[in-house]
C-alpha cells in the first residue's frame, strides 16, 4: 500500500476512534438478555440500544438475526448496543407477546422508544446502521423532499454554517450508511441534508444526473452573503464512502488558499496529507493582490481536487526560472516539485484535473525546457563564439585589405639603430601584428603617413614586436601599440595622445619644433604672439603660450622648460627671457614670471602670472588654461573636461547652436569665476553618438536643442531643462538653483537613466548588454 493509502487509513482509524470513544459499557457484539424485564431495567438514560425480542426459536427471523448480530459491532462504535432479548414463553407483554412484534427491532434511547424497525428494513448491516443512525440523528440530518425545503434550509444556514447535501437513491444503502456515519461525526459542525428525491438532485445544478448513484455536495453557506444566490457547491467526485466523505469534509474545512513564505519543499498541507497535489501560485510583491485573486479563483475550481498555496518569491529564494509562475507538488515525496510556466488558470486546472494531462504537460515542459536549455546552451555557445569586441571584429573584417603603408618604413633589429640617425625625427610605431588595437592604430598611422608625405625631417616607421621582440624589450615597449618619436641626440618621446590620425599628425608636427621655443628678441616674441610661427608650424591654429621670465625668475623658467618637454607635441609653447627692461611685461601689464596666452592667432592675448613653481602644477595649470570656456564637446576632447571632475551642463544641438544660445551659455559659463560645472555644447551633426546619450537619458530623442545637466561623478542623475523655457542665463540659473536645492526631479527614465551605481559589480554586464542592445536596436 502506498504511503498515501496509509495516511487515509490512519485518518479513518482516528475517525473511528472518535466515534468509539463515546463511552460504552459491556462487551462488544451482541448482548443477550434473558428477559425483557432485565433489559428494560438495565437501560441507561441517553444510551441508545437496539433490541429485538425473540421467542425461543423463530425460524423465520433467522437471516435477520444473522444480520443484526453482525451489525452489532458496527453499531457499538456509535455507542449503540444491540440486545437480543429472550421472551419467556409465558410472556405476553408488548414486545414479546405479539407475533408481529417479534418481527421488529426497537430502538431505544434510555427507555424511550425512538423507532421501531420492521425487519425488512434491516436487510443487511448497511441498512441497519444507516437506519439506526438516521433515526438517532434526527436533528443532525434533515430529510428534505422538496426544493423549497432545501432552499429554506440553505437560506437559514447562510452566513452561519455549511451544509452537506446528500442524495441517495434509497435509504438503507451503503451510501446512506456512509452519509449517516459521517453525520454522526460532523453533524454538529455542518448541517447534513439528505434526500432520496431525484428531482432535488436535478435542481442542485446537475444537468444530467445519474439518479441511480448517490451524490454529495458540500455547500459553502457559511461564506455565502447574497441571499438570492445559492451557496457555492463542491461535489464529492468520488463514490460515497465514509472515507471519501471524510476526506472531502476535511478538505472543505481547510483554508481556501494557504499563504506560504517558505521553501515549497518544506510546505505540507492537509491536501498533501490526504494524497492530493498542492498547487503553488508563485507571486511577487508587485503582483501579490492579483496573484491572490488568481489563487482564490483557482482554489475554487480545484476545491476537493488539489490545494492551492500562494508563495511570495520575494520571501523565498527560489532557484528556478524567473518566469515560472506555478509549482506543483505531488503527495509522492519522491517526485520533485515541478515548476511550470502556465498561460492561464485553465491550464492550472487541467494540470490537476487530468492526471494524464499533468504528466503530458510535465513531459512537454521537460522537453521544452530541455530544448530551451539546449537553445540556451546553443545561445551561450553562440555568444561565446561570437566576437563581441568591436575593435577585434572590425580589424578582422578589414584584414584582407592591403594597407597603404608605402610611406612607412619597416624597421628590423638590424636596421633599427641605423635608421634612427637618418632623419631628424623618426616616428616609430611599435605594434604586434596579431593584436587588434595595434592594427587599428596602424590604419590610422598609414593615414598619418599620407598626410605627412613630403614633410622634411620626419620619417615614419614601424617595428613589429612579434618579429623583433628584442627591440621592443630594449625600447621598453610594454603596451601594444606604442609610438615613440626619436630626435637626433634627444631623449625619445612617447606619444600619449589619442590614437587618431588628426591628433597624431598634429603631435608629430608640433613636436618638430622645440618646446618651449626660445624667442630671443622682443620682435620675435611679439611676432610669436601674433601667430608668426616657424615655417614647420604654419598650419597650427590653436592657442599658443609664451612664458615671460626675467633674470630673477630662472627657477620658474626651468620649471617652465621642463613643463614644455612634458607638453611637447600637445601645446605650442615659447619662452622669452627679458633682459631689456621688461618691455613685454609692461605691454601686457604683467610681472615676470608670467604666461601670455595668444588665442586664435593673437586676436586676444591673456596674461596670467606664474605663481606655481612646480613642474606638475605648471603642466596642470597650462592644460587647464587651454580649455575652452564654453567648448563644443567632442569624442576627442571629452577626456580633458572629464578630468575636471565637475558636472556637465550640456546643450545638445542638431547642428550649430544659435548665436543667442551661444551668447547666453557663454554668459552662464563666464558667470562665476570658479565654475562648479562645465558648460558645453554638443553638435549632434558632428558627434552623432550624442544621440545615443539622449536616447539613454530620455528613451527617445527630445526636441532639440535640449539643455541637460548631468553629474557624471556623483550619482549620475540627469536633469532636463524645461523645454518650454527659453535658454537664457536667468532661466538656467534659477533652474540650476532649484536643481541644487533638490526641487527638480531627474527627468530621465527611472531604470535606464544612469544605470550604474558606483562600483556596481554588474556594470560590465550591463555594458555588455548595452552594447549588444545597441547592436540589435538598429
Amino acid at each position: 500500500m502506498s504511503a498515501q493509502g496509509d495516511r487515509w487509513v490512519s485518518s479513518f482509524v482516528f475517525l473511528l476512534f472518535c466515534a468509539s470513544s463515546i463511552p460504552r459499557p459491556g462487551i462488544a457484539g451482541l448482548r443477550q438478555e434473558p428477559s425483557p424485564q432485565r433489559y428494560f431495567s438495565g437501560l441507561e438514560a441517553g444510551r441508545a440500544s437496539l433490541a429485538f425480542f425473540t421467542p425461543h426459536v423463530s425460524p423465520g427471523a433467522q437471516p435477520f438475526l444473522e444480520q443484526i448480530e453482525s451489525s452489532a459491532e458496527a453499531l457499538q462504535d456509535y455507542g449503540i448496543s444491540v440486545v437480543k432479548v429472550n421472551c419467556p414463553k409465558e410472556d405476553v407483554s408488548r414486545y414479546c407477546g405479539k407475533e408481529n412484534a417479534l418481527r421488529k427491532a426497537y430502538l431505544f434511547r434510555g427507555n424511550i422508544l425512538i423507532r421501531e424497525f420492521p425487519t425488512d428494513a434491516l436487510f443487511d448491516v448497511n441498512s441497519i446502521v444507516a437506519n439506526v443512525l438516521f433515526a438517532l440523528l434526527f436533528n443532525e440530518v434533515k430529510y428534505v423532499e422538496t426544493l423549497a425545503d432545501l432552499q429554506n434550509t440553505e437560506n437559514v444556514l447562510k452566513g452561519k454554517s455549511n451544509m452537506v447535501f446528500a442524495y441517495v437513491p434509497a435509504t438503507g444503502t451503503a451510501e446512506h450508511r456512509a452519509v449517516m456515519e459521517a453525520a454522526f461525526v460532523y453533524g454538529t459542525i455542518h448541517q447534513f441534508v439528505l434526500t432520496t428525491e431525484a428531482a432535488l438532485l436535478k435542481a442542485t445544478g446537475n444537468d444530467d444526473p445519474d439518479v441511480s448513484s448517490a451524490w454529495l455536495l458540500f455547500c459553502h453557506c457559511q461564506r455565502a452573503t447574497d441571499p438570492a444566490q445559492p451557496c457555492r457547491r463542491t461535489a464529492l467526485a468520488q463514490p460515497l464512502t465514509l472515507l471519501n466523505i471524510h476526506r472531502h469534509l476535511k478538505l472543505m474545512g481547510a483554508p481556501l488558499v494557504t499563504e506560504v513564505a517558505e521553501d515549497p519543499e518544506k510546505v505540507s498541507t492537509v491536501h498533501l496529507q490526504l494524497g492530493l497535489p498542492l498547487v503553488f501560485i508563485l507571486s511577487q510583491r508587485e503582483t501579490y493582490e492579483a496573484d491572490r485573486r488568481t489563487a482564490e479563483f483557482v482554489a475554487w475550481q480545484l476545491l476537493g481536487k488539489a490545494g492551492v498555496a500562494l508563495l511570495s518569491r520575494d520571501l523565498v529564494d527560489l532557484n528556478v526560472l524567473h518566469r515560472s509562475n506555478v509549482a506543483l507538488k505531488t503527495p509522492d515525496e519522491r517526485m520533485p516539485i515541478q515548476y511550470l510556466v502556465l498561460e492561464d488558470t485553465d491550464e492550472v486546472i487541467t494540470l490537476v484535473e487530468d492526471k494524464n494531462k499533468v504528466k503530458q504537460i510535465q513531459e512537454d515542459e521537460e522537453k521544452e525546457e530541455e530544448e530551451e536549455e539546449e537553445d540556451e546552451d546553443e545561445k551561450e555557445n553562440n555568444n561565446q563564439d561570437i566576437q563581441d569586441d568591436q575593435v577585434v571584429e572590425a580589424v578582422s573584417r578589414d584584414k584582407k585589405r592591403e594597407l597603404p603603408l608605402e610611406q612607412v618604413l619597416v624597421l628590423t633589429e638590424e636596421t633599427f639603430r641605423s635608421s634612427l640617425s637618418e632623419a631628424a625625427r623618426t616616428v616609430v610605431l611599435f605594434y604586434a601584428s596579431w593584436e587588434a588595437v595595434s592594427l587599428a592604430v596602424l590604419r590610422s598611422y598609414s593615414e598619418v603617413a599620407d598626410h605627412l608625405k613630403g614633410t622634411p625631417g620626419v620619417l615614419l616607421s614601424r617595428v613589429n614586436c612579434w618579429d623583433w621582440p628584442g627591440i621592443c624589450t630594449q625600447e621598453n615597449v610594454t603596451q601594444f601599440p606604442t609610438i615613440k618619436i626619436y630626435g637626433k641626440g634627444e631623449k625619445s618621446v612617447t606619444y600619449d595622445g589619442m590614437w587618431g590620425t588628426e591628433e597624431l599628425t598634429s603631435f608629430i608636427i608640433l613636436s618638430r619644433v622645440s618646446c618651449p621655443l626660445k624667442l630671443a628678441t622682443m620682435d620675435e616674441a611679439e611676432g610669436y604672439l601674433r601667430g608668426e610661427f616657424p615655417p614647420e608650424l604654419s598650419s597650427h591654429h590653436h592657442t599658443s603660450l609664451l612664458g615671460v621670465f626675467s633674470t630673477a625668475t630662472s627657477e620658474a623658467r626651468e620649471a617652465f622648460e621642463e613643463a614644455g618637454s612634458i607638453l611637447s607635441g600637445h601645446v605650442m609653447m615659447g619662452t622669452y627671457f627679458e633682459d631689456d627692461g621688461l618691455a613685454l611685461s609692461r605691454k601686457y601689464s604683467v610681472s615676470p614670471p608670467a604666461l601670455l596666452l595668444a588665442r586664435s592667432r593673437g586676436r586676444s592675448v591673456e596674461s596670467i602670472s606664474l605663481s606655481k613653481q612646480s613642474v606638475q602644477d605648471m603642466v596642470q595649470m597650462i592644460r587647464y588654461e587651454l580649455l575652452d570656456i564654453f567648448p563644443e564637446i567632442t569624442v576627442q576632447n571629452l577626456p580633458q573636461y572629464l578630468q575636471l571632475t565637475k558636472p556637465f551642463l550640456i546643450l545638445f544641438s542638431d547642428g550649430d547652436i544659435s548665436q543667442m544660445e551661444s551668447k547666453e551659455m557663454l554668459k552662464l559659463a563666464k558667470g562665476r569665476p570658479q565654475q562648479a560645472f562645465v558648460a558645453c555644447w554638443l553638435n549632434l551633426k558632428k558627434t552623432p553618438v550624442g544621440y545615443g546619450i539622449l536616447r539613454t537619458y530620455f528613451a527617445a530623442v527630445p526636441s532639440l536643442p535640449v539643455l541637460v545637466w548631468v553629474n557624471l561623478h556623483a550619482g549620475g542623475q540627469v536633469f532636463q531643462f524645461p523645454p518650454e523655457q527659453s535658454i537664457a542665463e536667468v532661466n538656467v540659473l534659477s533652474w540650476l538653483e532649484k536643481l541644487q536645492a533638490g526641487l527638480e526631479t531627474p527627468s530621465c527614465r527611472s531604470s535606464a537613466c544612469f544605470s550604474l551605481a558606483a562600483g556596481d559589480a554588474s556594470s560590465t554586464e550591463e555594458l555588455r548588454g548595452g552594447v549588444a542592445a545597441a547592436g540589435r536596436q538598429r
Binding site: D385, R401, W499, L712, D760
Partner: protein, 680 residues
C-alpha cells in the same frame, strides 16, 4: 694564481701552508659544460663574484668524447619562417642564452643534427667571447662544509682540487652532468665492451654478430653505425623501447637513431629483446664466441670445469632467442652523476627508482641534503625526468636562469624580474608569451609564467619562467607579493596522450575547436587561475602527474598545428572570456566613440576606456574600421537613424524598445568560473 705561486716560486713549504688558506668566491661552479657556462654567464651579467672549475683544459669535455659517433641529436633549425629570436630558440636546442647574437648555434653549424665537435667549439667561444671566469685543469676531488654562522647558508663549501688546493664558497653550483658510465656486473661482464671505448669504425664490425646492452639513444646510435656491416645486431634491455615521438620526451629513442627498429620489424635479422641484465651471464667459448646464459645456471654449475660444463638456456629450451653466439657485446647503458666527491655531511643522495642516476634535489634545484648547493644541467634532470627537457641544453639553459634568479633574490635582494602592465594588456601579454616564449615551450609543465594580480585587477605583474614546483614559495623565492590571486601559464601535452605504448597517430588526435580545447593532445598553453597562492600542502596533495594543484579555474588554449596561438576567434576570444570570468571585468577594446557614450551613460567604465580614453589615449579608429564595426553590429551608427523628432516618442514604440532591452540587457550572468568543459 695561488697554484702558480705555490707551484713555482716558493716551493713545498709554503705550499703546505696554502692548503689551509682558501681562495674565496661567493659562487663556485663545478663543471664548464653547457650548464656551468650558462650559470657563469648569468653570474657575470649580474656582476657576482664567481668561478667555474673545469677539470679539462677546455669547456665541454663531455662533448669532446660523446656522443661517440659525433652526431648530436639536438636540432639546430636554420629556418623557421620567423625572425622572432625568442621563438626561434624553440627550435634551436644547442645555443646557450646570452645577449650576444653571435653566440647562436646556427652561426656554428648548418647541420640540422650538428657534429659534436661543433658543440665543443661553440662552448669554447661562449666562454671566451663572454670572458667567463673559468679555471681549467682544476678537478674538484672533494667537497665539504664548514659551519659558520656568518655564511649565507650557515656554512661554507670547501672545495679541494687535485693539487690539494682549497677553495671556499658561499654557494655551490654543481654542473658536473652525468658522466660516470653505468655498468652492470654479471658473470662474464669482463667480455663486455663499453660505449665509451668501443670502436666507432664500422669496418671493425664487418661480418660480426653483435649484442648491445641498453636501449637508449647511445645503444641505437651504436647500432645505427654498424647496422650495415654486421651479421646481425641484437639489443637487450630491461624494459621496452621508448620512442620519443610517442613519449614526447626528447631523451627517449629519437627517430634519427631508430634504423634498427626498421630492420627488426622487417625481419632483417636484427632484433630487440627485453630481459633483466642482472640475470645475465656470458661465457666465452674456445673460439672466442660469447654465449648468453643465465646467472642461475652458473651458480648451479661448476664454472671451473670450463665452458662445456655450463648449461646454456638452449640446452633446455632449444629455441632460446639469444642462442646464437656473439662476437662482441657492447654496453650502452648511459651515465650517472658522480657522487664520490661529496663529503657525507653534504648528504648528496641518489634519487630513488629510475632517477637514481641523479642526486636528490628539490623543485627549486637546491640539494635536498645541503642548503646553498644547487644542481644545474643534466644532473638536475630528476625534477622532470622523462617529462620535459631539463636534462638537455634547450631545457636547462632556462632552469639555470631560474636558479640564478632565485639566488639573486635570496642573497642579493634582487627580486625576480617582473613587468607591471595595465590590466588591458592581460590578454596581450599572455598571447605574446605563449606564442614566442621558448622557456615555457621547452620546459613545459616545469617552468611557468606567473601573473600576479594587483588590487581590483587594474594592473598585474608578469613573472617569466618560474619553477612550478615551488609555486607555494613564490613570495619568499621571488620577493614579489601575490595577495590578489594569480594566473599560472604553462604548456602541457594532453593527458594520456604520451606514452611508450600509445598510438600517437590515431585518427582525430588533433583538436580543432576552441570548445574542445581541454582535450587538446599536442603541446598547448594552459592557464590556471588561483584566487590565492596555493599552499605547500596543496602542492603536496596535488593529483599525481599534475604539475599544479587544482585551480579555481582553468583554461586550455586549443592546440594549434602551427603553434601559432593568435587567431582572434579560436584562441584570443576564449582566452579573453576566461580572464573576464575570473576577474569579473570586461577586457574588450572599444573605439573612442563607445567610450564617449559610456562616459556619459555609465559610471564604471571598462578598463580599456578607463585606462585609455579617459587618460586621453582613446582609440579613434579609422573611418573604415568603424564602418566594419557598425556592420558587425558592435557599434551603432547614429547618423543613419532618423531622430529628427517627426517620429513621436509613442509609448508603443517605447515599450517595445523596453522589451527588447529587457531581453537583451540582463545578459546571462557570468558563467561559472569552471565551465563544464573546463572541469577538472
Amino acid at each position: 694564481m695561488a697554484t702558480l705561486v705555490c707551484g713555482t716560486l716558493l716551493g713545498l713549504a709554503l705550499c703546505a701552508m696554502s692548503s689551509t688558506t682558501f681562495l674565496y668566491h661567493d659562487y663556485c661552479v663545478i663543471g664548464a659544460g653547457p650548464a656551468g657556462l650558462q650559470a657563469a654567464y648569468f653570474l657575470q651579467q649580474a656582476g657576482r663574484d664567481y668561478v667555474v672549475f673545469e677539470r679539462s683544459h677546455a669547456p665541454g669535455s663531455f662533448f669532446a668524447l660523446y656522443p661517440r659517433h659525433r652526431k648530436l641529436i639536438s636540432i639546430n633549425k636554420q629556418y623557421t619562417g620567423k625572425s622572432n629570436s625568442e621563438f626561434n630558440l624553440r627550435h634551436d636546442w644547442n645555443s646557450l642564452l646570452s645577449h650576444d647574437r653571435r653566440l647562436l648555434f646556427r652561426h656554428y653549424s648548418r647541420d640540422f643534427f650538428p657534429h659534436a665537435d661543433t658543440m665543443v667549439r661553440y662552448l669554447e667561444d661562449f666562454a671566451s667571447l663572454l670572458e667567463l671566469r673559468v679555471q681549467y685543469n682544476t678537478a674538484i676531488i672533494h667537497v665539504t662544509l664548514e659551519r659558520n654562522e656568518q655564511a649565507w647558508n650557515g656554512h661554507y663549501f670547501l672545495l679541494t682540487d687535485q693539487d690539494r688546493k682549497n677553495y671556499k664558497c658561499s654557494s655551490l653550483l654543481v654542473a658536473t652532468g652525468t658522466w660516470v658510465p653505468n655498468v652492470v656486473n654479471f658473470p662474464g661482464s669482463e667480455y663486455v665492451e663499453g660505449y665509451e671505448t668501443v670502436s666507432i669504425n664500422p669496418e671493425d664490425f664487418a661480418g660480426q654478430t653483435v649484442l648491445i646492452l641498453g636501449r637508449g639513444n647511445s645503444a641505437f646510435e651504436t647500432a645505427e653505425n654498424i647496422l650495415g656491416v654486421t651479421n646481425f645486431i641484437h639489443m637487450v634491455s630491461r624494459s621496452r623501447v621508448r620512442l620519443s615521438w610517442a613519449t614526447h620526451y626528447v631523451g627517449d629513442l629519437r627517430a634519427i637513431n631508430n634504423g634498427l627498429l626498421d630492420t627488426y620489424q622487417l625481419k632483417s635479422l636484427d632484433g630487440l629483446l627485453e630481459g633483466d641484465l642482472e640475470d645475465l651471464a656470458i661465457v666465452k667459448d674456445k673460439k672466442g664466441k660469447l654465449h648468453i646464459t643465465l646467472r642461475f645456471y652458473l651458480e648451479n654449475g661448476n664454472i671451473s670445469a670450463g665452458i662445456d660444463s655450463i648449461t646454456l638456456p638452449q640446452d633446455e629450451l632449444d629455441n632460446f632467442a639469444t642462442r646464437a653466439p656473439y662476437d662482441r657485446i657492447i654496453r650502452c647503458l648511459g651515465w650517472k652523476f658522480d657522487f664520490s666527491i661529496y663529503n657525507r655531511s653534504l648528504r648528496m643522495m641518489p634519487g630513488k627508482g629510475n632517477i637514481k642516476k641523479y642526486p636528490q634535489i628539490k623543485p627549486s634545484y637546491e640539494s635536498r641534503g645541503t642548503q646553498g648547493l644547487f644542481v644545474l644541467g643534466t644532473a638536475s634532470h630528476s625534477v622532470d625526468f622523462r617529462k620535459s627537457a631539463g636534462g638537455f641544453i634547450h631545457g636547462f639553459r632556462y632552469t639555470t636562469r631560474a636558479v640564478h634568479r632565485l639566488l639573486e633574490n635570496r642573497h642579493h635582494g634582487v627580486p625576480w624580474p617582473s613587468t607591471v602592465y595595465p590590466i588591458t594588456q592581460l590578454t596581450n601579454s599572455i598571447i605574446k608569451r605563449v606564442n614566442e616564449a621558448s622557456g615555457l615551450y621547452q620546459m613545459f609543465s616545469v617552468l611557468a609564467d606567473i601573473i600576479l594580480l594587483r588590487e581590483n585587477a587594474t594592473a598585474f605583474e608578469y613573472l617569466e619562467e618560474y619553477p612550478t614546483g615551488v609555486l607555494a614559495e613564490l613570495e619568499m623565492q621571488t620577493g614579489r607579493k601575490a595577495p590578489n590571486g594569480l594566473f599560472v601559464i604553462i604548456m602541457e601535452y594532453g593527458r594520456n596522450f604520451s606514452g611508450a605504448d600509445k598510438d600517437v597517430f590515431y585518427y582525430n588526435r588533433a583538436v580543432g575547436e576552441a570548445q574542445h580545447a581541454w582535450q587538446s593532445n599536442f603541446l598547448h598553453p594552459v592557464i590556471y587561475y588561483y584566487k590565492r597562492l596555493p599552499t605547500e600542502r596543496e602542492m603536496k596533495l596535488r593529483p599525481p602527474e599534475w604539475p599544479l594543484p587544482r585551480p579555481d579555474a582553468i583554461h586550455h588554449i586549443v592546440e594549434d598545428f602551427l603553434t601559432d596561438w593568435t587567431a582572434p576567434n579560436a584562441h584570443i576570444l576564449p582566452l579573453r572570456r576566461f580572464l573576464e570570468n575570473c576577474l569579473s571585468t570586461d577586457l574588450r577594446s572599444f573605439f573612442a566613440e563607445s567610450c564617449f557614450l559610456f562616459a556619459f551613460t555609465h559610471q564604471k567604465l571598462p578598463p580599456f576606456c578607463q585606462q585609455g580614453y579617459v587618460r586621453m589615449q582613446g582609440l579613434m579608429g579609422s573611418e573604415g574600421l568603424r564602418r566594419h564595426a557598425v556592420q558587425a553590429g558592435l557599434l551603432q551608427d547614429y547618423t543613419l537613424t532618423d531622430f529628427s523628432g517627426d517620429r513621436p516618442p509613442d509609448s508603443h514604440d517605447r515599450s517595445r524598445d523596453q522589451l527588447l532591452r529587457d531581453q537583451v540587457i540582463p545578459i546571462r550572468p557570468l558563467q561559472h568560473l569552471v565551465k563544464a568543459k573546463d572541469e577538472l
